[in-house]
């Protein structure tokens, strides 16, 4: 990539908008995933009995089962949220930036 193209793109307001919004979005989702997972891991490390609590009086099924399945579902849902926004909003912005970089 030529230096003048670099300078042009890095000052393009659309590029600034794209990188700012996307990086905030990506980091937010990353932190959500980290909090969910390491929250789960820390409970296992410090209070494993909590996950071993029966779901209801006298049941064998423990709290840990829905919590574990919930962590799995959250991973899938978070990727869905990201892909949905990235493949529409972010890709449109990227296309605009590319068109400008080529056109001028």
């Amino acid at each position: 990539m030529k230096q003048d193209m670099v300078d042009r793109i890095k000052n393009d307001p659309d590029f600034l908008q794209l990188t700012r919004v996307r990086s905030k979005f990506a980091w937010t989702l990353t932190i959500v995933m980290l909090v969910i997972y390491f929250g789960f891991v820390l409970v296992i490390a410090f209070d494993p009995a909590l996950l071993g609590t029966p779901l209801s009086e006298g049941s064998v099924t423990t709290v840990g089962i829905p919590v574990g399945v919930g962590v799995i579902l959250s991973a899938f849902i978070l990727t869905g949220i990201y892909v949905r926004r990235a493949n529409t909003e972010f890709d449109e912005l990227t296309a605009k930036i590319k068109a400008k970089a080529k056109g001028e």
Partner: protein, 554 residues
């Protein structure tokens, strides 16, 4: 090729016959398994033949020409991930320890969203064939490529061991074939797929296998649940009764202390983002959009698969554990307890027999065999690419290698890696295969991931920082693994481990990040200044895909 196939066919038949002189009932069982094995092997060799005709350039060989769709790639990634270690190892862990198996599988899954948010599209936009393309994008080629290649090869070899052990045990159980011969057979087939069919064959073998494995596992889970009127409480209650303990319903001994728990979490999460055979798959799709879709589908398939594995593990507790049909009487006479034939890793295989009879046992065994073949092929391709693309083309030939020659080197590397895998597969026969994969993850998390991640996001990264910090991470991980319980005690037979934790990632990943940071900021060379300057252009390409390899330009 035909002659070799014939040899394979006859050796299968001969060994099957020899091993089955005992019971008549078991002979029928083995025939359906053998036939399904052979159908799969035949079909995949057909695919390899088809792919070989379409694999003409280095780009075809490494990336299947770059024309794989997001959905196909998602399936292939899931296939790479749903290895024999996952299917047999995690269901064995659930079977042996209950809830701990779920904890382990969750760790394997949660790396995926992080890959999507942080590295997937950037990787696609910056790279060509291997993740080292990205790590060395603006750094000095020779040192960074060399380090990345070593990280890749080490990860691949560790992962391969786990797969080979699974293969040996599985075929041993099914055919009564010698462990060594089973491992050699897998190695030979894998070499055929990769050398002739490249990434295209490897991808399609993986997609077909992923479909078969998901179908088979779904059937097993439904069959188990149908037994208990689709009521989880009844299933769990029966399992607790069988095991005579409620400990299987709560976290247990797998992660007994906070350090281990966090360390395992880090290894699994960041290790996923540093596995060379997985990262390589992002170069087989056309653009960033397809790369993102790949991760979405892969996460879905993998998550679903782990839920199935959990049900299968519990299914094995209620239907296999203490079932005299699957009891290893010889072992029981010596050790007591209720050991099953072939060890815990065979829990899912026995369950397939319990729910679906001989025919379904044959199907699941064939699928598990297919799984091993597909995964070892992907691993070997990644390892061979590290040797040919990173070491040969970039380090030795300084980027001036001819594409055909590079491909040739890759094929020779495949054969060598295959032989190494066979040898190590035999050497590591008695390790729990799920833990072996855990070790591969520690290295991927400590060497590959920190360099890759910081090369994308940290403008002040320099060659010196990446090289010293990355090496520090790799060495720390390797040394701690050797000094830890899994190698020092279990393999080398010492009484007590020098390093007390099974999972070194917490220490080794920290060492890598701190090392890279420190040696980068103290790097005042002219070269370092240039590398920092080059970040801007790299950042724009990683964010927009302008100038990306094989991208469709408007």
């Amino acid at each position: 090729m035909k002659a070799l196939l014939l040899v394979l066919l006859t050796s299968f038949a001969a060994f099957a016959g020899e091993a089955l002189t005992g019971e008549v009932e078991k002979q029928a069982l083995n025939m359906s398994a053998i036939i399904m094995f052979l159908i799969f092997v035949g079909a995949t060799l057909g695919i390899t033949y088809w792919a070989a005709k379409r694999t003409k350039t280095a780009k075809d060989f490494y990336t299947a020409g770059g024309g794989i769709t997001g959905f196909q790639n998602g399936m292939a990634i899931a296939g790479d991930y749903m290895s024999a270690a996952s299917f047999l190892g995690i269901s064995a862990l659930v079977y042996a320890k209950g809830y701990d198996g779920l904890i382990y599988s969750i760790g394997f899954l949660v790396g995926w969203p992080i890959i999507l948010f942080m590295v997937a599209e950037q990787l696609r936009n910056l790279g060509k064939y291997t993740f080292a393309d990205v790590a060395s994008y603006r750094l000095r080629q020779t040192p960074i490529r060399t380090l990345a290649a070593f990280g890749s090869i080490l990860t691949v070899v560790l992962y391969l061991i786990a797969q080979m052990v699974g293969a040996g045990k599985l075929i041993q159980l099914l055919f009564g074939l010698d462990y060594e011969i089973a491992v050699i057979l897998v190695g030979v087939l894998m070499i055929l797929y990769v050398t002739f069919g490249g990434m295209l064959a490897t991808t399609w073998v993986q997609i077909i296998k992923a479909f078969l494995l998901l179908s088979g596992a779904t059937f097993m889970a439904i069959a188990v649940m149908a037994h208990y009127d689709f009521n989880f409480e009844t299933l769990f209650a029966t399992a607790v009764q069988m095991k005579e303990t409620t400990s299987i319903m709560a976290p247990g001994g797998l992660v007994s202390d906070p350090i281990s728990a966090i360390s395992l979490g880090i290894a699994l999460m960041f290790g996923t983002a540093g596995l060379p055979h997985i990262l390589m798959r992002f170069f087989t799709v056309s653009d960033a959009k397809e790369a993102r879709k790949s991760v979405f589908y892969a996460t879905g398939f993998i998550g679903y698969f782990y839920i199935l594995t959990f049900i299968i593990g519990f299914g094995a507790i209620v239907m296999v554990f203490q079932n005299p049909q699957y009891l290893d009487l010889a072992k029981q006479a010596v050790d007591g307890g209720a050991p099953i034939l072939g060890g815990d890793n065979m829990a899912a295989i026995h369950l397939s027999h319990a729910v679906g009879g001989d025919f379904f046992l044959g199907f699941i065994s064939a699928v598990a065999f297919a799984t091993i073949l597909a995964v070892v092929s992907g691993l070997t391709l990644a390892g061979a690419s590290a040797i040919s693309h990173d070491l040969y083309a970039s380090v030795i030939r300084k980027g001036k290698a001819d594409g055909m020659m590079e491909m040739k080197v890759s094929k020779v590397s495949t054969v060598i890696l295959g032989i190494v895998a066979i040898y190590l597969g035999i050497a590591f026969e008695d390790q729990n295969i799920a833990f072996m994969v855990g070790l591969a993850f520690a290295i991927a998390a400590s060497a590959n991931f920190p360099i890759l991640f910081l090369s994308m996001y940290w403008s002040k990264l320099t060659t010196r920082g990446a090289l010293l910090g990355g090496s520090l991470g790799l060495l720390t991980a390797a040394v701690l693994v050797v000094l830890g319980p899994t190698v020092w005690v279990d393999v080398l037979k010492n009484a007590e481990a020098i390093f007390p934790y099974k999972y070194p990632a917490l220490f080794s990943v920290s060492a890598a990040f701190i090392g890279i940071w420190f040696f980068s900021i103290t790097d005042k060379s002219d070269n370092a200044a240039k590398e920092k300057e080059a970040y801007e252009a790299q950042y724009i390409r990683s964010q927009t895909g302008i100038g990306a390899e094989g991208a469709v330009e408007h």
